[in-house]
Amino acid sequence: MSSIGIVSPQTMAFAEPLPLQSGASLRDYMLMYETYGTLNADKSNAVLICHALNASHHVAGWYADDPKNVGWWDNMVGPNKPVDTNKFFVIGINNLGSCFGSTGPMHTNPATGKPYGAMFPVVTVEDWVAAQARLADRLGISQFAAVMGGSLGGMQALAWSIMYPDRLRHCVVIASTPKLSAQNIAFNDVARQAILSDPDYHGGDFYEHGVVPKNGLKVARMVGHITYLSDDDMAEKFGRKLRSMAEKGGAETAGYKFGFGIDFEIESYLRYQGDKFATYFDANTYLLITKALDYFDPARLHDGDLTRTLAKTTAKFFLASFTTDWRFSPERSREIVQALLANRREVTYAEIDAPHGHDAFLLEDPRYLSMVRAYFEQIRGQIANQPKGGTA
């Protein structure tokens, strides 16, 4: 199976201010996006992919000048892949507040001429969706064949189905949730506190000081990473293996170091992942995105009644969850399924018995990928059967 190959990102600038849920608004902002495949004549084959916490518009393929930078869902999106770019026109879009190109805290605040830093307004899932809808308007896409996302991306897809029911025919929500649990919020706050208490954070204006709160970001990533994996997966990959065993080629003299450095392989792995993350991710972006996760709760406007909240949806739904995902467990997906069933929506729900925890949504699991493939085949069949020029 081939990848989409070399791709290049595009930007779209917006002058009209975007009103945000917080009451603030953003003006002169830019959105970064990538497209794969070809938009058909009646514009009925567009699929929007919403990204998760540390991802971006770069969903598939790679860049000519950076061939190692492969898109985060390259196993899902591409020619002959489950979301087949020979048939669908796929758009990857980067959200506001991100550090991957769309307007974010490190960009210049037109009001001050300095980087936004801490001044960048708090954005929500709904704000992102509103911005995405404007991009769709400009591309002339009045209705997506599907809006799709995993985790935080799944929240955006769900928000699309509520905010713009007529603008998507299918809503694909993978390893997601209708709202975070107290435990989820707690983990996010530990991550934020790590960043906020880093002396190099400088109240969010660290750009001016020429530093980055690396240690805070590292710890934040370490906490996050633990929650993406399952206990079994970690046990199998790392167990209680000692780093010194690897260093000494498995020599028997290897043992505990009786200090606070690295003893165990899992420590080495997490610190390495944390360090790597701190070199490319922005601390303010991490704060913003985790808050967007925490705030997402569309049923809040309906006294917590998700059934009533989803009554306004008209899309058909595909949901998938993974049995070992304890961050966004199958119970959370089932809440959405239950509310959709109560509204008699067309729902397909796969609960996949995969060992990899939350991260499973990004990995190769033949059962998961063939379900998505089968579902998108159905979507494609519906496009083929549409009368010419129709969008229904």
Binding site: R334, V347, Y349, R367
Partner: protein
């Protein structure tokens, strides 16, 4: 799929399909590859879902265009559905594989205004002959050896009637089928598949 297609491939399902009114909302518990839901959707204009646990069957159902919910109904999978949320709940040749038949039966009539349940009739005469010869029956409806069978709850037509009465389920109709045809004479002896149309006692009567 046309009725003729259904009748040729699955005469038992073709018979059961007569009991399902066009355009109604149906749940198929243990929908397998989605064959029945596919027929009901395409030919009878029914809506609804299949409920299935096995990965490969969930995939096949999806490939057929059947909306399927992957849940273990032994572990409360029917809890996803509200009371009386379906016109008809089907449970076709799946009941005998369940551990908790009684709980499932209660749940089926809770979520459906009506239910259609089918299972292999253990009292079918070739089964009795096998037992008389001292061996567990192996037949077209019970095609497994005793040590590898997924069928853990074998019942006769009379057994099921007794259970239905005990859990407060009203039997609206029942038939015994052999080769997809109704057996009127000595059904508990000559029928290989038992099919019951059920309703919760005191349940709503819809036209």
């Amino acid at each position: 799929m046309t009725f003729d297609d259904l009748k040729t491939t699955r005469p038992d399902l073709a018979f059961i399909a007569h009991w399902i009114r066009p355009g109604t909302h149906v749940l198929d518990v243990g929908c397998g590859d989605g064959f029945m839901m596919d027929y009901l959707q395409t030919d009878k204009g029914c809506t609804g879902y299949g409920l299935e646990l096995a990965d490969d069957k969930v995939l096949e159902s999806t490939q057929r265009g059947v909306r399927v919910v992957q849940q273990d109904f032994e572990k409360g999978g029917l809890a996803l559905f509200g009371d009386n949320s379906f016109d008809t709940v089907l449970c076709l040749s799946a009941l005998q594989m369940m551990q908790h038949v009684e709980a499932l039966l209660r749940d089926i009539v809770r979520v459906g205004n009506e239910a259609i349940v089918s299972f292999p009739n253990f009292a079918y005469w070739p089964h009795r002959v096998a037992l008389l010869k001292g061996r567990m029956p192996v037949s077209k409806t019970l095609p497994y050896q005793w040590y590898d069978t997924p069928n853990v709850r074998c019942a006769t037509i009379e057994d099921f009637r007794a259970l239905a009465a005990e859990v407060g389920v009203e039997v609206l109709e029942y038939v015994a089928l052999a080769e997809g045809r109704i057996v009127d004479f000595l059904p508990n002896l000559r029928g290989e598949l038992a099919v019951f149309r059920l309703r919760k006692r005191g349940g709503e009567v819809r036209p």
